[in-house]
Amino acid sequence: MKKHSFVLLSFYSLFFFSCEKNISLDLPEPEVKLVVEGFIESGSFPYLFLTKNSAYYSTFSLLEINNNFVHGAIVKVFDGTDTVTLQEFIIDTAGVQISVYYSVGMIGQTNKTYSLHIEAEGMVVDAFTTIPPFVPLDSIWVVYNEKQEFPDKVKLMCRLNDPPQLGQYVRYFTKANSQGFLPGLNSVFDDAIINGTIFDFPLDKGYNRNDSIDFDSYGFFDKGDTITVKWCNIDKAHFNFWRTLEFSVGGQGSPFASPIKIKSNIIGGLGIWGGYASTFKTIIVPQ
């Protein structure tokens, strides 16, 4: 949304004539595929959610969400020497039975490649990902009074000392107080522009995809927050997945956006199998 907002704004301001109506499109049913949302993080064990896709113009209901979870799959992760089998656990939250597969028999390490193999409902998918070396943030701080109408909001700033070679890919999350780690609207970066520099930049507060977004206050933290930044180095395929996914989500509704096919690293399926090399920085903002 953000990337196109200038185009859209100018567009609508000039052509205020436009009108819209509801239509129904008669679409073919999509081929059923496994959707993987799986991760292995440095210092942590591998886990994944396994679902299926569904027809586009169907209403999402609890029943459909329940039906989309794939149970009883064979899930294996191989780190080059050892293989672990991930076990399924079912968590019942608010009527939805979320199934998660994990194994504590393996801990993610940097500079290692992890292969994933899944067999379920007659389908087989494979993937691999790498946990790259750590390139942590130098420091973080906040600036005050960035927006007059929000005197209690603060902007988070970061400093990165980017190594001289190109090809650093990053995904970040922020945590404010007891809230979980959440990614920003644009949560991935590469160093094509800033390569090799000591670079200061603002970082938007992560946002819950299930909350409605207020663009006026989006990205700001509050005075009194305890802010933790989770800064994750990722490999290129992992970067490409989030880059295309966030671009696709952001472009929805724009007349100029063309459909972005999301670059999945799952062979034979959809979704992501991603490694994170995570480092953390915390700051407490005074009241």
Binding site: C19, K21, Y57, I193, R209, L245
Partner: protein
């Protein structure tokens, strides 16, 4: 085969040089008697045998005939026909000033050359449009736009609603060579393409070739749109202009030295920003706005009957600015072109034109937010030189040959920025440089009353040169290797041998069959990530990675006139193949400071179709009906799982009706109607959830159709009486008369929130852009 044809052409050429000695030449210029403007494509014919010629783009003609007495007929649409009896026993210069027929403005619309010219000439897929003739047709917001009239011709179509870009016989928008006084115009649209950069007041004549492209044109594979600016009145001063709903225009023209030299200066500017200003001046958006303007200027000087020099230029800008409390954004973009031309007559049969051309297109973006500043720049700059000769050895024979070369500078999208005191300048992003050259020979020869051949050959070349650093990206995404090329160092060269051929066979007096073949190569490419062309689209050259596009086209047509040539009809079929077509790879997202050619995938295309055309060019009621049935596909191994897919503008049926009726001396009623199959688009097919986002899974590329597009427009034009100093008139237009809600784009709205209320509905919404829009324009002439 190819070698032989060159030899044959050369031989005929030399042979004609020798035998031409026994003939005498009648030559000269045909001009408008009132303004002194050259008349382009006026016909000059020998009455007894209806052989003859047309004036070239400078109004020059030359006929070589055996000694004798001839009645020569000079004619041009909207002008009185003049017949001269000439005793030709010596080479004769005859400059003709044609008086305009009374109230030329109202005679209307596109006329296809001389009486039965469409049947008898060896041109195919060519349309001439005189701007004066389209000014009575309806226009959105009252802005007359030649590009939108072109979209109504058979085999030609517009893009999405209201845009001025055009698509010819299944080709892409970058495959049209658009020339303004011989300078290439790289971006033809203002305001996201809703208006073309061509101010109708400054334009004299427009020629479109959608097939049978003459060898003198090269560098694009689908069509040529050759636009000539007005020269200016060489006899008296005039001012003309108009005030419309969104823009005003003013044109000044007159002699610098009477009958020797004239100038034309034309400008227009939109004023939406001025109108909106009072509403936003006190809001936080103060300083935001949008406008565009154009300036066209031309001057010429006639040194003698043999030498004439022209200077012409275009300058246009779109400026968009946006301001609120913390963001300041300024986005200017536009074209500039300049052409210097020298026409020289070596003798009555040999005409030369020498050009030096400069052009520049660029797009800029500057944004500041607090301490953070970002600047973006992209564009293309050309410097060209060109020389061509027209040789008229015989009335049945016309030869044209020439050479041209262009130095291109490509400025890919690059970003620089500043954050506080730290500046960052990108690495890796490199300008590109290239030379594009061509040499051509074309020969039009009439074998008999029945058979005429128009054959040509173009040899083209493109060389990418340094300085340039090619970086090779490895699988991991890291640059693995690079090669550095020094200044002017050769990087990669491509050649093309491009034959062009048209054969006409007459079938009786009022009908003919014409067939054509042409091969053309294109070394510059515009790759768009959008369904439409935008100012941010970037031209890229052929390079080590990007091969030239190749277009092959075959066409066959039957042309027949009825009722004393009052009604012209034609049926044409064509088949076209496109090689080395370019698209972005799947999953491409625009990333600054990246060599975009690394994101290309390559494929092929084909298009076939049948076009029907009925044109009534004379009388009170004029206009045309055109219908096209076409099939256009693209095939890329790396897109759509390697399956062929329809081109976005693969419209099965296109029907256009254009009619204009002259009620009386003052009033003209005109209307247009268009019906088009809906455009193809890629639709959502499935969905899944990642991190709480609903993710769209797209179906096959362009696998779905929007609803059909249709629309009718009407206009009423009033031309006032000529008073002592001023003549004025009104144009009333209604766009989208029956308020059809044509689909512009479709998007999905998500209703409900995932965790709050786990019932989420996705609703498709169709957006329509322009409802019924009335407009009024006041025009004046001094």
């Amino acid at each position: 085969m190819k070698k032989n044809s060159v030899l044959i052409i050369l031989f005929t050429f030399l042979f004609q040089l020798v035998i031409a000695q026994n003939k005498y030449t009648l030559s000269g210029y045909v001009r408008d008697s009132i303004s002194g403007e050259s008349l382009i494509a006026a016909s000059v014919f020998v009455k007894s045998n209806s052989q003859g010629a047309y004036t070239n783009e400078y109004g020059f003609y030359s006929l070589s005939l055996v000694m004798g007495t001839y009645e020569i007929v000079y004619s041009y649409v909207g002008f009185k026909t003049i017949t001269k009896t000439i005793v030709l026993d010596v080479d004769t210069r005859m400059n003709i000033n044609l008086p305009s027929s009374a109230n030329t403005l109202k005679e209307i619309v596109v006329e296809i050359e001389k009486k039965d010219g469409n049947v008898q000439n060896s041109e195919v897929g060519k349309y001439e449009l005189q701007v004066e003739k389209i000014k009575t047709l309806p226009a959105i917001f009252g802005e007359v736009d030649i590009m939108k009239i072109i979209q109504l011709l058979p085999g030609v179509q517009g893009g999405t609603e209201g845009t001025s870009g055009f698509y010819v016989r299944g080709g892409g928008p970058d495959q049209n060579l658009v020339l303004l006084d011989e300078a290439v115009v790289y971006n033809t649209g203002h305001l996201f393409g809703f208006f073309s950069v061509f101010n109708a007041d400054a334009i004299l004549n427009t020629t479109l070739y959608k097939g049978g492209m003459p060898a003198e044109y090269g560098g694009r594979i689908s069509s040529v749109l050759d636009i000539n600016m007005k020269e200016g009145n060489s006899k008296t001063f005039h001012a003309s202009g108009g005030i419309g709903l969104i823009a005003s225009r003013l044109t000044l023209e007159g002699p610098i030295v009477k009958n020797k030299s004239s100038f034309m200066l034309s400008g227009r500017r939109t004023y939406i920003d001025v109108l909106l200003k009072p509403f936003i001046s006190k809001s936080k958006f103060d300083g935001s706005g949008y406008y565009f303007y154009d300036l066209n200027a031309k001057a010429n000087y006639t040194f003698s009957d043999k030498d004439r020099v022209f200077l012409s230029g275009y300058f246009g800008r779109d400026v968009f600015s946006f301001k609120n409390d913390d963001i300041k954004l300024s986005i200017p973009w536009g074209n500039a072109t300049a052409t210097v031309r020298w026409n020289h007559l070596f003798n009555d049969r040999l005409f030369m034109n020498l050009d030096a051309i400069y052009n520049d297109y660029h797009f800029e973006l500057g944004a500041t937010q607090n301490d953070f500043e970002i600047n973006m720049y992209s564009g293309i700059k050309d410097r060209s030189a060109k020389i061509d000769f027209s040789y008229y050895p015989h009335i049945k024979h016309e030869i044209k040959f020439g050479v041209n070369t262009t130095y291109h500078i490509f400025l890919p999208s690059s970003i620089t920025g500043r954050s506080g005191d730290v500046e960052f300048n990108p690495q890796r992003i490199e300008r590109k440089y290239g030379y594009e050259s061509g040499v051509f020979l074309q020969d039009k020869y009439t074998f008999s009353d029945m058979i005429e051949v128009n054959a040509g050959l173009r040899v083209s070349m493109f060389e990418q040169v340094g300085p340039y650093k090619k970086v090779f990206i490895g699988f991991s995404g890291f640059p693995e290797d690079s090669i550095f090329y020094k200044n002017s160092e050769h990087i990669k060269t491509y050649y093309g041998v491009e034959p062009r051929l048209i054969l006409k066979v007459s079938v009786g007096k009022h009908a003919s069959i014409k067939t054509s073949y042409n091969l053309s190569k294109q070394y510059l490419h515009l790759v768009s990530n959008n369904g439409t062309t935008l100012p941010t689209d970037i031209w890229v050259p052929s390079s080590i990675v990007v091969k030239p596009q190749i277009g092959d086209q075959y066409s066959l047509g039957y042309f027949r006139n009825f009722i004393g040539d009052k009604i012209e009809t034609s049926v044409e079929i064509y088949y076209k193949t496109l090689k080395n077509q370019i698209e972005f790879r799947e999953g491409y997202t625009p990333t600054p400071n990246e060599d975009i050619e690394d994101n290309f995938v390559f494929g092929t295309g084909d298009s076939k179709g049948i076009e029907l055309y009925i044109n009534k060019a004379k009388g009170r009621l004029t206009g045309w009906v055109s219908y096209t049935l076409a099939f256009t596909n693209r095939h890329f191994d790396d897109l759509n799982d390697g399956n062929s897919f329809p081109y976005r503008y693969d419209r099965r049926n296109v029907l256009s009706v254009v009619a204009s009726y002259k009620i009386n001396e003052h009033w003209t009623l005109a209307g247009t109607f268009i019906y088009q199959t809906g455009i193809a688009f890629t639709t959502s097919e499935g969905k899944y959830i990642i991190e709480g986002n609903i993710i769209t899974q797209y179906g096959s590329t362009n696998g779905f159709r929007m609803k059909a597009y249709h629309r009718a427009d009407v206009s009423l034009t009033y031309e006032g009486r000529k008073r002592k100093f001023i003549q004025d008139g009104w144009n009333f237009s209604v766009y989208n008369l029956y308020n059809r809600k044509n689909p512009y784009f479709i998007y999905d709205q998500y209703e409900g929130q995932f965790l709050v209320d786990p019932t989420i509905t996705i609703q498709a919404k169709q957006v329509s852009l322009f409802p019924i829009i009335p407009s009024v324009t006041w025009n004046f002439k001094f």
